[in-house]
Amino acid sequence: MLIGNFKERYADDEALFRTPASRAGLWVLLAAALAFPFLAGDYLLYLANLVGIFTIAALGLNILTGYTGQISLGHAGFAGVGAYATAIAATRLGLPFWAAVPAGGLAACLAGAVVGMPSLRIKGLYLAIATLAAQVIFEWVFNNWTSVTGGIRGLNVEPASLFGFAFDTDRRTYFLVLGAATLLAFGAANLFRTRIGRAFIAVRDRDISAELMGIDLFRTKILSFMISSTYAGLAGGLWVYFAKVVTPESFPLSLSIQFLAMIIVGGLGSIKGTLFGAVFVTLVPEGLRAVVQSATTFAPDAMSWLAPMKDILFGAMIVGFLVFEPHGLAELWNRVRRFFWLWPFPK
């Protein structure tokens, strides 16, 4: 049973880690993440990079949707803006990656500010539809502004390098992605201990009440859009250095939906949940692939069923979580943790 965890100062109450155990848990997780590339094979590393990049984008979406209550169906579009800006900065302007990726973040930030503009007048379902339109328009621009985006052929980018160390394999890129994801996750967690972050939460809970308490609604919502799309843009920039190429079909509406699925499955308004969600939503289809692959021994054409089964599993996952576990994996985790805190007493 968890005892002796008293909050005696305000600082304790505001601390990022409530108990020494949760701080220790994080160190263990980080150590495991650092050891991972020395133990895992190529395919697992590829997946780990994917998870890391998706985590960053989903963190951004969770800041906007989970913490500020504004729905975005356009986050793949923002990631695309970031990716293209990064690729252009790297190829046309010849910037090194540590400048090109933030440039992507900045471009996405501006795009987010523009798309967020209507959020003062329209909200909820209407805003979702507005961001849907933004996603469609972004995709169209990626496809058709050929002189800048290279059209469907896309843009090729050289691998990132730092002090002569080239991040040219998935194993090396992993450290880049891990570093960025860790930094940005801490950034997001700390954001909600600041005045701005608390304002986001107030707007989510009841925007009119928040306004009456002196929160400038327009500024807060736009700021949330900007921070959120910056995350997406940085994820897009990292994607460029991961895939070495950026094409329009990398950022479809279905990717936006996948980001939303991650934060629903993981838990709206939870940093930890975002990580759970990104891992879960990326790895479950891979698990399905493994199962189907092993089924080919007694059903040779099983692989042709993989794509539709992925669709069904993906949809069922979203519906299942929304109906049975609306607060996502983060809540599940908390329940398990509470059980051990209170053990041997029943909850």
Binding site: A128, I129, G315
Partner: protein
């Protein structure tokens, strides 16, 4: 001028179909407050039901339409009862995501049941194009348009003249009062999903006749968002007007702008530019109710 009329006329045809889908969408929104992202996939299922009835069971076209409608009605009722009823009153994000999840499930099921390949309906209508003065419409556009129109008229009559239709209108108007007057709200919810599924299925068959069917047919469903936003999310009349307007806009943009920017696909994206514009200027649409918030 003839060129303009010709383009506008095929815009009206497309628009009539959009209007049919949009009406089902609006009925669900009015009754239950749910934005149905699975509309496109309901269309796709309906089209496959109709196609199966015609080619596999060898039924005549009219019977196939009935089969498509009944099949979709079953799906609609089931989905409402099992998935959407528990979600009533939840946050918008949950409601949007649950219908998106459903659409993924439908797409997967259709791919397993009917395969991923492209199919087309057997010829149904006389091949002779329909001529209206200077306008010539190919028969596989003109006849489906008439079907869509007939369905819209039937729906309007249902809402106007039947007891159930009146109950549905009353519920949409004021849920609490309707409940107090003894209207079974849960039945209305269920019925509105059935209606939405039936209109989607009819529209799906119509779209399938015009352009063939595949599990990707549901992508058309995205086009109804400009339509319902222009008309007003909670206005059935608005869905009709919005549908026609967006259909015409799309075809005009395609007819006049596409030659200027070859390969740019302006036809597909123009409605979404219109959508953004409407949301900026008049978010509640042409005929929608303006939401007033009170604390």
């Amino acid at each position: 001028m003839d060129h303009f009329l010709q383009i506008a006329a095929s815009g009206v045809v497309t628009g009539g179909i959009y209007a049919l889908i949009a009406i089902g969408f609006v009925v669900v929104y009015k009754a239950t407050g749910v934005i149905n992202f699975a509309t496109g996939e309901l269309m796709m299922l309906g089209a496959f039901f109709g196609w199966t009835a015609m080619t596999v069971l060898g039924l005549p076209f009219a019977a196939a339409l009935v089969v498509a409608a009944l099949g979709a009605a079953g799906v609609g009722a089931l989905v409402e009862r099992v998935v959407l009823r528990p979600m009533l009153g939840q946050r918008p994000i949950s409601i949007i995501m649950v219908t998106i999840g459903l659409s993924a499930v439908f797409k997967g099921i259709a791919q397993i049941a009917w395969g991923g390949e492209y199919r087309s309906f057997p010829p149904i209508f006389p091949r002779k194009p329909v001529e209206l003065g200077p306008i010539i419409l190919p028969s596989r556009q003109a006849w489906p348009f008439l079907i869509a129109l007939a369905a819209i008229v039937a729906l309007a009559a249902f809402f106007r003249f039947t007891r159930t239709g009146t109950a549905m209108r009353a519920t949409a108007d004021d849920q609490a009062t309707a409940f107090g007057m003894g209207i079974d709200i849960r039945r209305v919810f269920s019925l509105s999903w059935v209606l939405a599924a039936v209109t989607a299925a009819l529209a799906g068959v119509v779209v399938g006749i015009i352009g063939g069917i595949s599990p990707q047919l549901g992508a058309v469903g995205l086009r109804i968002f400009p339509v319902v936003i222009l008309g007003g999310l909670d206005s059935v009349g608005g869905a009709l007007v919005g549908g026609i307007l967006i259909g015409v806009l799309e075809n005009l943009a395609g007819g006049y702008l596409d030659p200027l920017f070859p390969g740019a696909g302006i036809k597909e994206v123009a409605p979404f530019f219109a959508l953004v514009l409407i949301l900026m200027v008049r978010p509640w649409g042409l005929f929608g109710t303006r939401e007033i918030e009170r604390l």
